[in-house]
Symmetry: C3
Subunit: 265 residues, 3 copies
């Protein structure tokens, strides 16, 4: 069912069972796969893919008051890849080249920059600000109000919490600075500030602020060294800051990180 | 496809692709969103919302023996909000004002009281008893046979286990008493009893019974104090018992907790 | 929509909204439930069940280059039970009697043996080798390249990681030997080798190789004893090796483990 008021671009593929509601704008060359649902007031950039059964422009809380879908625009930039079963709420803005895994949830009032990725089962709780080139692997939980800066990596089963005396009405979300790496299964306690280029170890419970370049491991989390002590397990060379060694999908992938930094930093 | 034997109330909204099978009862003013599936023998209370692609009355194990859906009624009370992708099995009973997030699974032989909530990706394994006003945040795993009393809070990535020598045939589930708060990423080991008004810290591995009002943290979990030692990080005032400070959605929200307790306790 | 080039066996049930694309082979007595999607080049063995909204033969990465579904066959053996919302990629081979929970993801280039199970929300990241009679409970994350041998048990929220200096291009996946048991919430660090019949405790962070029959617990994980020290909490008898006490669904269920071992070991 495609609403007559929807603006559908050139060369858009629409598979069986797709729903496109009123006041939707679909850019050129988009691909709407089987049974995806695009609710009112969604703008989807050109060259985007929406997987089966995904829901764009999901109802915000006020829908349930009287079953009326108020105006909560969702804007997604060009070249998005949204895999099956993703649910992205209204009142949300996402940049270009966005990629999700399957069964992702992104709630209202979230802003996500360009070239960012949210893996399978990721759960973004709303009111979040996520920068550019942020890579969240599978099954990451980003609590309401979390702020994640550019070039941050988040690995599976990490949780960013926000309530230091639950249940309460006072949220103190986590903030993660540029280039930080949060390993698998880390729990970041409410209000902690995770410094630039820091490294949080697998399974760490982060109780307090993490300085720039620090390595924190364990439960309770303790700072054990700086990242310049972490070596490649084969070559013995320094691994961090990681942008010198990892380029795939990054803006410096066709150049040297230092060269890129001088031109863009 | 709506079965002719289904009883559909007044003023029910049925969106495209909805399936309602035989012997289903849908109360007045319900809203069945795109492509939700209501299998046989489901009774859904008035004023309820069922999100896209949700499945109510999911097959129990005996279906797979010979592909016959035996009689396993699912009864859901009035004013339910069941978000997209939820799967709720037959032989289950749920009270009024039930709310779920997305992609929730609730298996057979589970009883859930009134005003309870299961967040996105929640996974309830069956044979569970869950009380009234229980709030499970996203991605909570409630093992088979777990018993959770009224007014309990459970935060993301908490797991209630049930097998102390896996794999075995002897399940010893967890029991959680009223007003307890289980923080993010806690693992409750098989058979532990979590006392009234206790507080389990983030990432705690709870190995043994937790007394009333106790605070347990760490891996292995240790009792470090009572909840009266936990203060608001801004005001310095006592935070627990939490009902004195948190009222949203609770039955004492328009009164004082002590007044309510005297009248209802 | 059933493609005319699909080969559908005898006595196949096809519910409303099912999609079967070109070059698909469906064996006799299969049951394709509401709205499941079987993409090109899938072969599904006889007597299998595919739940609502499941996707078989999901696109591999090369689809997104030019929106062409290249040839990536998915082969699933007889008697599969694939519950709703599962997504299984192309270039994958799965043996007989495979069972999944809901909302499972299995990515490309994975091989799974016979009689194995992946529980609800399981996330297998591709390039994995999983043996026979492997039981993964709900919400297990199996990182790219992980190798799991026969008769292994994996409990909820366990993560097998693969990158020791993230982000990097050098994956060192985990390998788990026969009969090992990995309890709830364990994190297995990159490259660790988990020995035969070992037992990893709930919430353990496994940093180094685990010897045969060892018990490892805690964060950081430490070997505390051998499995012969673990007793049944009621009878006081030895529990491990578990095949002597647990037979359900195992090939020795109608005989004695030692007898079976002599004939098959």
């Amino acid at each position: 069912m495609i609403s007559k008021s929807a603006l559908i671009g050139q060369n858009v593929t629409v598979k069986e069972g797709v729903v496109v509601e009123d006041n939707v704008v679909i850019g050129d060359n988009c691909y709407l796969d089987y049974g995806c649902i695009i609710r009112k007031n969604v703008t989807l950039g050109a060259d985007s893919y929406v997987g089966p059964q995904s829901i764009l422009g999901e109802f915000c809380a006020d829908f349930y008051e009287n079953r009326a879908n108020k105006t909560h625009p969702l804007i997604i930039g060009e070249k998005a890849t949204i895999r099956s079963g993703a649910v992205i709420y209204g009142s949300t803005e996402i940049g270009v080249d966005f990629i999700t895994g399957h069964h992702v949830t992104i709630r209202e009032n979230t802003k996500i920059g360009n070239h960012s990725r949210i893996g399978t089962l990721g759960d973004i709780q709303g009111d979040c600000i996520i920068g550019n080139y942020v890579s969240a692997h599978s099954n990451v939980h980003i609590g309401k109000g979390t702020k994640i800066h550019d070039y941050v990596w988040v690995f599976p089963y990490t949780v960013f919490t926000n309530d230091s005396t639950p249940p309460s009405n006072e949220l103190t979300p986590v903030e993660v600075e540029e280039y930080a790496v949060i390993s698998t299964g880390a729990i970041c306690l409410p209000g902690v500030h995770i410094g630039k280029r820091s490294l949080i170890g697998a399974g760490a419970v982060v109780l307090k602020d993490v300085p720039e370049n620090a390595v924190v491991v364990g439960n309770p989390g303790k700072q054990i060294c700086d990242t310049d002590k972490i070596k490649n397990h084969i070559t013995g060379e320094n691994v961090y800051p990681w942008p010198y060694h990892f380029k795939r999908g990054m803006p410096w992938q066709d150049t040297d990180y230092d060269v890129w930094l001088k031109e863009n930093g």
